[in-house]
Symmetry: C2
Subunit: 245 residues, 2 copies
């Protein structure tokens, strides 16, 4: 897989490499379809092989094992979500920070409802026995939070974010150290209280989406789910520091 990735970045010299990369791409595509149809835990290499028109053992030439296919699908899904979020955010005016924040939230929700199984793979219970290799998943897996942090930091620098009420701005020392490390690592200007609130905005956004995707609301408790989410986004914007229009 690292070979394939490397050659994919260096333009696939030989026909063999091209054929191999194409086969791997087909496997990932079929795996994505099975994931969407039956969920992560039911992902079967044999079924992928059948759809590929090949005997089961043949796919092991291209993918070491089931876990590696899961990793490929994980990265694929993270990037798909990241692309959707980036596109939605960049469709808003560069200095309309509140607009960008709302677009990010709607993009996450829209993608999750469109791709519930892939969303579950990323943000649901971990697949038993599978441990995602950080080296491959960290970069794509942090795209959304980095985008959110970027929006909030830019808004703060533009003076459009007001500090949270005093109560929420008081941060105990050990937590303050964590936040300071984050601020230093990402070169942020945002103060502690707003970072801590931003983390809650982040987890709350995914909490609201997860409840909807995973069916935690009853079947018929909410019929106006779009409006409910828009309302939640407005409250979260206030929590992040944006002032109401």
């Amino acid at each position: 897989m690292s070979d394939a990735a490397a050659s994919a970045e260096t333009s696939l010299r030989t026909p063999r490499e091209r054929a191999r990369a194409q086969t791997i791409a087909d496997i990932v595509r079929l795996g994505r379809e099975h994931l969407a149809a039956h969920g992560a835990a039911a992902l079967s290499l044999r079924a992928v092989a059948r759809d590929l028109g090949v005997v089961s053992s043949a796919v092991y030439r291209y993918v070491a094992n089931r876990d590696e296919l899961l990793t490929l699908l994980l990265v694929d899904a993270y990037n798909d979500l990241g692309d959707a979020v980036d596109a939605a955010v960049n469709a808003e005016a560069e200095h309309d920070f509140a607009g960008r924040f709302g677009a990010l939230g709607l993009a996450v929700r829209g993608w999750a409802l469109r791709e519930p199984a892939r969303y579950g793979l990323l943000f649901g219970s971990p697949v038993p026995g599978y441990r995602a290799p950080a080296s491959q998943t960290e970069a794509p897996g942090t795209r959304v939070i980095y985008s959110l942090v970027g929006i909030l930091d830019a808004a703060y620098r533009a003076g459009e974010l007001t500090a949270p009420p005093a109560r929420a701005a008081v941060v105990p020392s050990a937590l303050a150290a964590d936040l300071e490390a984050i601020r230093a690592g990402l070169g942020l200007a945002v103060p502690d209280g707003l970072i801590a609130n931003g983390v809650l905005v982040w987890t709350s956004l995914f909490g609201a989406v997860s409840f909807e995707v995973f069916g935690q609301y009853g079947a018929d408790t909410f019929s106006a789910r779009d409006q409910l989410f828009e309302h939640h986004l407005a409250v979260l914007a206030g929590m992040a520091g944006f002032q109401g229009s």
Copy 2:
């Protein structure tokens, strides 16, 4: 299983019924251990049978299939969580509504960190191919939200909950109809804006817990997770309408 449940409630007359109930209890206990050890998707009736010291087909005398065992474990976990939450809430003074709210949040998080696999079964991605029967899971599955709603409603009636800022209090009509149905169904006094905020508090609480349990925070981004969660709880209390102390 409905037979066993019925007889369990009516004091288990015959010795056969007692033996049967005991065997089912053992199966659930072993299933719980396997769940904690290997996750929901890896739950195996054969493995449970092995631990029970019995051939695989024998367990089908007590449990119709794997899905039914999952349902038993689901109900078991919901009730365990509900018991933990009730105990924590009732340990606070009856009229210390903010204290009860905080206790509820800490109880959920504590239980989730203690029982990550069972938490994942309840609030993670749905097990593929399994559909929880609402008739059995609805009552235990709503204990936490009903407890939360009860606290907020009591606090409101006591005048300790202040309405959210005007912006967040404006609720579009379709959503207002949903909220009205909830208010009528549960006999609540809380106004629309606060109910809508309460829903967000609910989802945000579980969003924060899920991020921690499912490892969405990096391995070493936050070392002071207790303090982070306490801070989040304080912000959520404000969102629910509690005034800062």
